[in-house]
Symmetry: C2
Amino acid sequence: MKSLEEKILREGKVLPGGVLKVGSFLNHQIDADFIMEMGREIARLFEGAGVTKILTVEASGIAIAIGAGAAMHVPVLFAKKSKTVNISGDVYQTVIHSFTHGVDYHVMVEKQFLQPDDKVLIVDDFLANGKAIEGLMNLATQSDATVVGVACAIEKGFQQGGDALRGQGLRVESLAIVERMDENGVVFRTQ
Amino acid sequence: MKSLEEKILREGKVLPGGVLKVGSFLNHQIDADFIMEMGREIARLFEGAGVTKILTVEASGIAIAIGAGAAMHVPVLFAKKSKTVNISGDVYQTVIHSFTHGVDYHVMVEKQFLQPDDKVLIVDDFLANGKAIEGLMNLATQSDATVVGVACAIEKGFQQGGDALRGQGLRVESLAIVERMDENGVVFRTQ
């Protein structure tokens, strides 16, 4: 998505340790109009896939998931994070390791909101090592719902998460894929 | 907002301890179309107020803030929660006590995203005792931005947060105000 690549080049900052900071429009301050535009692009990419529900994880995935949900007219379900295991039988839960924050999050969704006939599109802001996506797939699988694909705003192509998921046969659409980045700038993968 | 009151009556559940559960459309699973409709209503209420920025707090405030931001074509800034104090000089921070979870959250926003000439609309999903709103007002005040008002989806009118804020001269618009609720149902304040 050309407009996203341009926005990253204009507003993004590359920090040491492989961090791409896009807090001016994506995950701290959010450009609401642009989020809706990205949502429409995700809807276009997955048109005809029969998506019944969007699944994301709090907090920074919620905005783009709402953009996609509004464009596709389907509900958005966000997995909630907790430091503790929820022992209720009414939730599906799994563990996601965050390399960014160096902690394990227990994430959960209420069982009533994921049904076996759901066709789930997983949406997130970033795709790097793929741990968050794998956790969300795990939740969907527990419910016997079908995962029709993954849509992310920004994929770090130099980490292996996205390509590993594609290697499993999953449809992964990233609106921009960063092939490499350093203090000299950002280079995108041609899609 | 009649359609919100109807949705609460249809899908909401009153739990012991003054909890109104609306996880089917507002703060776990999100009805994306309805979030956009609520956002348009907030835009209508604050038309002409010159809002330049919407401020909310993660995680459950993000969805309705995006709805409002998309309708008003202004950026959405969400305060991030942390269990620890951020000692960086580049952030405004304050503490919000959550009665629901029984903990104090340190919340922060990066200074660059709140400027003295900003006219801030604070948006959240729930308004009960008003502690989250007060925390967000505190962040805005530190930046010398002007708070033009508060917009919430659901206010618990039987708690005192909303009316206390109004008593301070702040404009507070809630799309539905629950006057009382118990196992027999929910009664709304006439607005």
